[in-house]
């Protein structure tokens, strides 16, 4: 497969920043108080990474993904993962056509731009691996044919950290495929107040002779604020963000410390360093900078590193966590 060099960007960085601002504003019209999550989604989208959202049900994960896909005019699919799901339910399969007597390919819901994999930890490991393999290789083999996935392709997976019965925890090797793991919390009281106010003003929707109460999904504006071209420009702009040698030294130092920390039995892989650098570039662009700073590293450290490290038994027995180990690493200076 030959790699075709893309055309040079025609849009300025200022245009990209405006596009990002419009997307954030559009999402903000529907989803309240999730600026950080929107930022992380855009980082994943601009860097062709994937994101895992960990949070309790009802914090607008699906609404976020749906709003974002409509704002940029992207195809959107949602898969609710369950224990009886099969790999073919996601990837697709060959179906025998009774009339023609030949097999035809039925592509699964993974063939989309924005895929929301809801409660990914409820599927059997075989299904998880099939999907994560497709995420990594960006192609799916159905029968004897390999089909490339659409571009852009972003998986927004979710998992509930509370209900662990009947779930299959993703192993570290598979979690490593996700560029970011963001932990969603409950909204602040003022945001919750705004959510309630908006919900009260939704009204009803007439359908035929009846009516149905409108929900937040009905309030999503179908008019996109950006095109796929703008998204491509944004991706170009990310690659133009300057990364200093000093920043790389910071990344190398932190990654190395995760491998030497006494509380950790599993440190970061080189993939973590790559993800950190990519994510920092995208974040710098989103914040209107053409260069990364340590601020990007500190802000993204938890989302990039925490799911890639594992605490050892001694640390867990003494009540220390990967989060506390990471904070120690970020606080330490010098060897």
């Amino acid at each position: 497969m030959s790699i075709v060099e893309s055309d040079p960007p025609t849009q300025t960085v200022d245009g990209t920043i405006e596009f990002i601002a419009r997307v954030r504003e559009r999402v903000g019209q529907v989803v309240v108080g999730q600026d950080v999550v929107v930022e992380r989604l855009l980082i994943a989208l601009f860097t062709s990474g994937h994101i895992l959202l960990q949070g309790v049900p009802g914090v607008a994960k699906t609404l976020l993904a749906s709003t974002l896909s409509k704002a940029i005019h992207l195809d959107f699919s949602r898969i609710q993962f369950t224990i009886d799901l099969l790999p073919s339910d996601i990837l697709g399969s060959e179906i025998l056509d009774q009339q023609s007597g030949s097999f035809r390919t039925h592509k699964g819901p993974i063939f989309t731009n924005l895929l929301l994999a809801d409660e990914i930890n409820r599927a059997a490991p075989k299904v998880q691996s099939a999907m994560l393999e497709a995420m990594q290789e960006r192609k799916v083999t159905i029968g004897d044919t390999a089909y490339p996935l659409p571009v852009p392709f972003l998986v927004i997976a979710t998992q509930n950290p509370v209900e662990q019965s009947g779930t299959f925890e993703l192993p570290e090797a598979q979690l490593d495929r996700f560029m970011l793991l963001h932990r969603l919390g409950y909204p602040e009281p003022e945001h919750e107040r705004e959510i309630l106010r908006r919900n009260m003003s939704l009204g009803i929707r007439r359908e035929g002779k009846g009516a149905v109460a409108r929900n937040e999904f009905d309030s999503i504006n179908d008019e996109p604020v950006g095109s796929e071209d703008m998204l491509v420009e944004a991706m170009h702009s990310v690659h133009e963000v300057h990364v200093s040698d000093t920043f790389l030294e910071h990344v190398i130092e932190i990654i190395d410390r995760t491998r030497r920390h006494p509380d950790l039995e599993l440190g970061c892989s080189p993939r973590a360093g790559i993800a950190m650098t990519k994510a920092a570039r995208a974040r710098a662009l989103i914040h209107g900078r053409n260069y990364v700073t340590p601020e990007d590293l500190y802000e993204l450290a938890e989302d990039v590193i925490l799911h890639r490290i594992r605490a050892n038994y001694e640390a867990l027995a003494e009540g220390r966590t990967t989060a506390s180990a990471l904070q120690e690493i970020l606080q330490e200076v010098g060897a």
Binding site: F247, E249, P294
Partner: protein, 283 residues
Amino acid sequence: MIKTLLPAVCLFALLAVPATSADVSPSDTPEATSVGFPVTIEDLVLPGPLLQVKPLETRDDPFILRLVQSHPHGTSHRYTFEYYALEPGEYNLVEYLEPTDGQQAVELPATMVTVTAILPPGQIEPNMLESAPLPRVGGYWTWVLLGFLAWLAIGYAILTVGKKRSAALEASSEERPRTLADRLRPTVEAAVAGELTQAELAELERVLFAFWRKRLGLDHIPAAEARRKVLEHPEGGQLLRQLEAWLHRPDDDMPVDIPELLAPYRNLPSESLTTEAKEAVEV
């Protein structure tokens, strides 16, 4: 015919001899035994009526006889006896027997048994054991003294090793900077002189950030939040922004005067940071 039967007759005679000699007659002399060891005499045939052992009249009798079992044996009886003696000598068994029906005792043949003594004549105490004495390793007080000396030696060793270790730690702590301020001074000097590598410049940036975290009492909050707070501080924020311009910006739009930027950190007193941090936490 006689020739053919002769071997069979001889074999029968040979087998019959032990069978007939199994009957113990009174003339047979039982094996001698020693004082205190019981002996059993089986199949002793005595003529006359059934006999029993006379009851003991005193507890000082040196010979103890017990009738184990008896069987009729034609006009006689066959007995199994067990006996032991407490003194050496020769004893006649029949002297200790009497008819069961209280009749006049018949004349019985003497049945003598011999009991010998293991000890020499006249000795009534057992021989002393001829065991070699154990090597003497000292008595109780010797062990107490040795234990005390060992306790002193171990205690002295612990104290000496501890002192040496703490002395080594003190020496090493004297060798390396003890505070962030101490660590900053040589790094800052090298930075002003332009002698730092990229890794050392990154280290300088981290140390300066750690310095301000400590100075503002932000040690116990997440690093990202601490950085936001330092950026809000007039002096600390200015430093971090200048460092960003110097170390991370790709252009020279914001030239940084490095000696002026790092001047406040060239002569920091070691203890000043701790005092200020404490004050910041109290505030």
